[in-house]
Amino acid sequence: MRLVIARRQDVPGWLKLVSPLYAIALTLLSGAAMFAALGVSPTTGLYTYFVSPLTDAWALQEVAVKATPLVLIAVGLSLCYLSDNWNIGAEGQLVIGAVFGAAVAVATHGAPNGPWVLPAMIVAGMVGGALFAMIPAILKTRFQANEILTSLMLVYVAELLLDWLVRGPWRDPHGFNFPQTVMFEPEAQMTRLMDVGRLNISAPLALLVVAVAAILLARTLKGFEIRVVGEAPRAARFAGWDPRTLTWTVFAISGALAGLAGVVEASGTLGQLQPNISPGYGFTAIIVAFLGRLNPIGCLAAAIFLAVTFIGGENAQIALRLPLDVTRVFQGMLLFYILACDAVIAFRFTIVRGDASGATA
């Protein structure tokens, strides 16, 4: 008797829906075991991680605040990855976007200005991110330089540029020479939507981005092109599509979205530039993109999910005194399960009785 694993020709739709449920069930089980081992009641532990971040309006706003930059970046990265362009430097594009956006805020600081400042910052940030993303794109198309390396290396360069700016030319003249820019004027900060809580206009903006990207991918020729180039590059060449133009396009879009996320963090969350403006959103978004199956709506769900576990981890430190490392282990396990279950549904498991010899599948 032996187990035979065979790849399914078509994964039925119901299985695709069931797969995350498998993952959740496994996570709940091993989470419960882990909490019990650490001396924490399993129900309290799971509640803290997965429910406490969703319990009231304030907490929900925080989930949105945390998920917004992740969604924005992940949607852009999905377009890249679908078309076989491996941009892993979104963190750097985020930083440059924040720098370009902040340039507007710093330049208009203290001057009479109007409601045009914030839109100008958003546009500047998107342009900045897109331009910075064009560097690996052009190095790829012009010199065949591998974009994984160039986009990753440029992250460090971008961070050092930001560091230089906030310690040098853009340092707040009245900030005791601490490394920070001035606090942006109210016109240069993301408009908040509620009286209490940090939800701002960037969250609906992210939803809009998701909607546009979903339509682009599913309903337009460009979206078709992106998918075909990734799946069947030869067919794409027969269709007469220029892979170079497409590389530039997806890098520019994903850079612009990462740049937008940078403006969101600088102007919406921090209200200034500091040497560190992102807790690694550009890298986390890579996971979001894959968890979301490179689908904009999937990215939205994945970003919300990851945001919940990040905040749940903070709450676990506060309410249960669990160290941050436990959260990281838990998150890692959770991602393993999700990936495993996504993969498992692509196979059919059957138990064959009798002789082991013969066909493999």
Partner: protein
């Protein structure tokens, strides 16, 4: 037991009053919850570790009167949420232990008027925001004096983190101390652009030693530079904690952060209802930090260093007395003058004779 007490209360006929008293007594007995927000991991050897040791000291001294909650590796982007969450869970005193949290603290504090905030460095106070920091530069002056006695090459190597005023005035003060012994002392500085990156700190120490520096000062948190000094047979100073054991042959002294007593004082103030916003910047005399026992020094060298540390602690000696002249030749203050705290806190220049490029 409880039955009896209830009966007694009933008998006294002051049930309502006693019950009210009872609940207020319970409320007073409930421990004060104190939150600590760290910028790095608890195990970073330096800044966050020492704040966490201060937290443990607070628990040790206050016992059941306090309950503390640390939250580690928090990004400035998440600070407001963590602080709000702590406050919602009943924490009434929150230490935000990094300058990168300062603006976020100022934003979140007005929304949580029942909570007292203590920011480790910052530029302003608020009705419920205090500032606290230590005058670590006093320890740097002592390091300079010792370095000048120990150095044969007359060159100090300084592993600097970031070009912030805290680091720049520390470099100037080391040299002030060194020049007080030997005006021909020189310094080489390497910026590693990190507070904590053991590998790069070790590389920087190697580079400085290779260039002839034989006393290494570090403004980064890991014991790597000191260990390397030990390996290479030169001297060094520990940072944040007593690092003697990492470099038995190289260690001269360490500047040891000691936040615990301050935390006890502030928690007591909240419990007693006497908390007021303040701006504490204490030196060697305040106990906010101390020097680890001198090692690898002759008795004469040690007693000289001890005397200077005492003079600094008592205020008899001030490293920021004039004349002070910038590297570019402009005079900041003349003889007889003294820099104000704000001038020290915002220092972004090197003194004449400190031949180091100002980054940024």
């Amino acid at each position: 037991m409880s039955f009896n007490r209830r009966d007694l209360i009933k008998g006294a006929g002051v049930a309502a009053g006693a019950a009210a008293l009872g609940t207020s007594a319970v409320a007073q007995a409930a421990p004060l919850q104190v939150g600590f927000i760290y910028v790095g991991p608890v195990g970073d050897f330096g800044w966050s570790t020492m704040h966490d040791i201060g937290r443990k000291r607070l628990e040790e001294v206050m016992g059941a009167q306090v309950k503390t909650t640390p939250v580690e590796s928090v990004a400035a982007n998440d600070m407001e949420r963590v602080a709000t969450q702590l406050a919602r869970q009943g924490h009434r005193l929150i230490f935000t232990t990094s300058f990168s949290f300062f603006q976020a603290t100022m934003r979140v504090a007005p929304t949580l008027p029942q909570t007292f905030f203590e920011s480790a460095t910052g530029t302003a106070t608020a009705p419920n925001v205090s500032l606290y920091n230590a005058r670590f530069y006093e320890g740097r002056y002592v390091q300079g004096v010792i370095a000048a006695r120990k150095s044969k090459s007359k060159t100090i190597g300084y592993i600097a983190s970031f070009p912030v005023p805290e680091v720049m005035h520390a470099i100037n003060t080391v040299m002030r101390g060194a020049w007080s012994v030997d005006p021909s002392m020189k310094i080489r500085v390497v910026w590693v652009n990190a507070w904590f990156n053991p590998g790069r700190e070790a590389d920087a120490a190697r580079a400085l030693i290779d260039q002839g520096c034989d006393v290494i000062c570090q403004h980064t948190d890991s014991p790597a530079p000191l260990q390397l000094a030990n390996e290479r047979g030169v001297f060094g100073f520990g940072q944040a904690s007593d690092m003697t054991k990492f470099a038995p042959r190289a260690h001269l002294t360490s500047s040891v952060n000691n936040w615990g007593d301050y935390y006890v004082e502030r928690a007591r103030a909240v419990i007693n209802g006497t908390w007021k916003p303040g701006d504490v910047w204490g030196g060697l005399g305040s106990g906010l930090f101390r020097l680890a026992p001198f090692t690898n020094m002759t008795p004469e060298e040690a007693s000289e260093a001890q005397k200077i540390a005492e003079a600094l602690g008592s205020g008899k000696l001030n490293p920021f007395d004039g004349p002070i002249v910038r590297a570019d030749g402009t005079e900041v203050i003349g003889a007889g003058g003294r820099l104000t705290d704000d001038q020290i806190r915002s220092m972004n220049y090197f003194y004449r004779g400190v031949d180091v490029a100002v980054p940024g």
